[in-house]
């Protein structure tokens, strides 16, 4: 099967959504095409085609290791989207549905891109396609968040383009043809010009790190996740950040082939620890439970970055964490969306006693919070344990201590906010507002499914998935 179908099918869906006449039935296109995408992704996962080395696009080991997770997360969010858009039936959803499907198609392209220029085009297009989704609510706060997202994200993505050009020039200057496929760049290896390789690494790390939300380039994240509909937050946190992470992994492999892998690893480790620290400190201060999710996302991006810095075992752990974090964070975003809608405010100053008003969402929210702070036997516990093991095995004692310290601080911060809004007696205004929100199956089952998936991932990590992650290690970190 041609892996292009993963890109074409959602884009066709987006086209249909754009011309679909009925505002009421249009949201159903989301789960239909989401399901189609999941089926295709898992068929390709089981029966992966051979990728030609020079191909610009392909379902290669890295795409195979993470794209099914993104696809699965999208399907569950899409199912939630049907109920969400029914609640928001007063708003036209043509643009919303069409762009969500476009994002799925572009994410599939980004994950499969084996050409630096193509990767950039896909990432930039995802960034732009997300803009109207962020201000779906149309409030001044939403526009403010969108503006910051555009400026910070736009600058980041511009720098990553500059970095791509630098890597191209490194190839030209080293006597190569300036071919921007990752295969060609890796093959040129030590022939790449050293100063240009290092310049390219800094720019690409800052650029794609902005998209990932690594500190200190994370400033767009709390605003965007805080103001966007929670389904958009879940897709951004689980899908868009993942494409940026795979970009960094692919670039890192080129840098390592050029003989500068140790520098790349050191910067990844430092920026990862810094992200965790910044996120943990902000988690201790924030009073808004949707912004809290954004800081938690920054923290987990730090964990991915640290995993990538630790070499083979660390990368396998990071890919595991992409799955466990994406799915668990999705459950948190969707249940937080329910609570936000029922409570009418995102701040713990106004909201309390949600375990009385929205008992099911609150239960999922609390469980999800424990899962994401690495309570066994959920997925994140095992993936983070693997990161710790890889760190200790490679002799990073101090880094491991800092890692664990940040996890503890983040745990304090998260429990502070979560129990602040769940416990206590609800205010009369919150009580009145919550009467308009009914916890139907449509808004409870999707986050619950994600939570169950996270549990399943922790308890019974399928061997075929482990093999897929190890295949990436074999491809990106060839043992000399």
């Amino acid at each position: 099967m041609n892996p292009l179908v993963l890109i074409i099918v959602p884009l066709v869906g987006a086209g249909i959504a754009a011309v679909w006449p009925s505002n009421r039935t249009r949201p159903w296109l989301l789960p239909v095409f989401g399901l189609l995408h999941v089926v295709l992704a898992f068929l390709l996962f089981i029966n992966s085609p051979v990728v030609a080395p020079g191909a610009w696009l392909g379902f290669d080991p890295l795409a195979r290791a993470v794209l099914p997770a993104v696809s699965l997360l999208f399907l569950v969010c899409a199912a939630y989207g049907v109920s969400y858009l029914r609640i928001r039936s007063e708003r036209p959803n043509r643009v919303f549905v069409a762009l969500l499907l476009t994002i799925l198609g572009l994410l599939s392209a980004g994950h499969q891109a084996r050409h630096l220029g193509l990767l950039w085009i896909a990432t930039e297009a995802v960034t732009l396609a997300a803009v109207p989704l962020l201000h779906f609510n149309g409030t001044p706060r939403a526009f403010e968040a969108t503006w910051k997202y555009l400026l910070v994200g736009g600058t980041g993505i511009a720098l990553s383009l500059l970095g791509s050009f630098c890597l191209g020039y490194a190839s030209l200057h080293g006597g190569g043809k300036g071919d921007l496929t990752f295969a060609a760049l890796t093959a040129q290896g030590a022939g790449l010009s050293r100063p240009w390789v290092l310049t390219a690494w800094v720019l690409l790390l800052v650029g794609y790190g902005t998209k990932m939300g690594l500190a200190p380039m994370h400033t767009w994240k709390p605003d965007a996740y805080g103001e966007a509909p929670s389904i958009v937050g879940a897709v951004l946190a689980g899908g868009v950040t993942t494409v940026a992470f795979t970009a960094i992994l692919r670039v890192r492999a080129v840098i390592a082939a050029a003989g500068e892998g140790h520098i790349a690893d050191r910067t990844l480790l430092v920026i990862g620890l810094f992200s965790m620290l910044v996120a943990a400190l902000f988690l201790l201060g924030t009073r808004d439970f949707k912004r809290m999710l954004a800081y938690s996302s920054v923290e987990h991006m730090g964990i991915l970055s640290i995993g990538a810095a630790l070499g083979g075992a660390g990368v396998a752990a990071a890919l595991f964490h992409v799955w466990s974090n994406g799915l668990t964070k999705g459950a948190l975003f969707l249940s937080a969306g329910n609570i936000r809608r029922a409570a009418g405010s995102p701040s713990m100053d106004d909201v309390r006693g949600m375990s009385v008003l929205t008992p099911r969402s609150a239960a999922i929210f609390v469980t999800g919070m424990f899962a994401v702070t690495a309570l066994p036997p959920f997925g994140p516990f095992f993936s983070e344990l693997q990161v710790v093991r890889a760190a200790l095995a490679s002799g990073h004692g101090i880094a491991t201590a800092m890692f664990l310290g940040c996890l503890l601080l983040a745990f304090f911060g998260l429990t502070r906010v979560v129990f602040g809004i769940v416990d206590g007696r609800p205010r009369p205004t919150t009580r009145r507002n919550a009467q308009r929100f009914v916890e139907t199956a449509g808004v409870i089952v999707p986050p619950l499914v994600l939570l169950v998936l996270s549990l399943w991932l922790g308890l019974f990590t399928p061997t075929i998935l482990r093999e897929a992650w190890l295949a990436v290690v074999a491809q990106l970190f060839p043992t000399p």
Binding site: H115, G117, L118, W120, I121, E124, A125, T127, L128, V131, H135, T139, P140, R141, F143, E144, A145, T146, W147, K148, L150, L151, G154, T155, A158, L161, L162, F165, C166, G168, Y169, S171, L172, H173, K177, G178, D179, L180, S193, P195, W196, T199, P222, D223, G226, E227, F282, G285, T286, R291
Partner: protein, 215 residues
């Protein structure tokens, strides 16, 4: 390659950077930015004049029309709608930004010497021009408070990256180039729309008013 003419154009673009930094009136800032876009659009024609085919011509034309006509037109419309003419009380004054820009340009020339270049690029100002424009873009992005000025800064930053991209003009496939150009154009359209919406939602284009979201 007609290196002399190319360097003249790059020098012109670097001069326009300083003009953009020093102008307090928004129309002249937009004019400097759009003129720079046209100058940049001419460069591929000069560099490829031996093997000029219609595709290079199309990319050059698209750049000139996009950066020189459409985008400035959008910004001018937003400016008129918001009824603002000039930047009042920028974070960074005009003289300090000019001095920073001038210092940055000198530093860019010095820095470009330190980077190893291919023999055919050593005589051109492409790398210093690119670094100077990127720096100018950053100064405008950080130093100005009106959304339109910040958009201009972003565009000048992208112009700098475009200049750098010209180093690779012989090796990058045209498909990739046009994809990048398309993305950039759509990006600016999106920014233009958001500027318009912000103007309506806040009745102002002063980004200092965008301070609700903070810890």
């Amino acid at each position: 390659m007609s290196g002399g003419t190319l360097n003249l154009l790059i020098g012109l673009a670097m001069g326009l950077n300083l003009l953009a930094l020093g102008s307090s009136r928004l129309p002249s800032l937009i004019r400097a930015m759009s003129l720079q876009g046209v100058v940049l659009g001419l460069m591929p024609l000069l560099m490829e004049h031996e093997t000029l085919d219609w595709r290079v011509f199309a990319v050059a034309l698209a750049t000139m029309v996009g950066k020189g006509v459409i985008i400035p037109g959008l910004l001018r419309r937003a400016m008129r709608a918001a009824n603002i003419e000039r930047e009042i009380q920028p974070f960074l004054g005009y003289v300090p930004s000019l001095l920073l820009g001038a210092g940055g340009t000198i530093a860019a020339v010095a820095l470009a010497r330190a980077l190893p270049l291919l023999p055919e690029h050593t005589g051109t100002l492409l790398v210093p021009g690119a670094i100077a424009s990127i720096l100018t873009g950053f100064i405008l992005l950080i130093g100005r408070v009106k959304a339109i000025s910040q958009v201009c800064g972003y565009l000048i930053l992208e112009n700098g990256i475009y200049l750098f991209g010209l180093l690779l003009i012989h090796s990058t496939p045209l498909l990739v180039e046009s994809g990048i150009l398309l993305d950039v154009t759509v990006g600016v359209f999106v920014i233009g729309i958001i500027v318009d919406r912000i103007q309506r939602a806040f009745d102002s284009l002063d980004t200092r008013k965008l301070t609700t979201l903070r810890e």
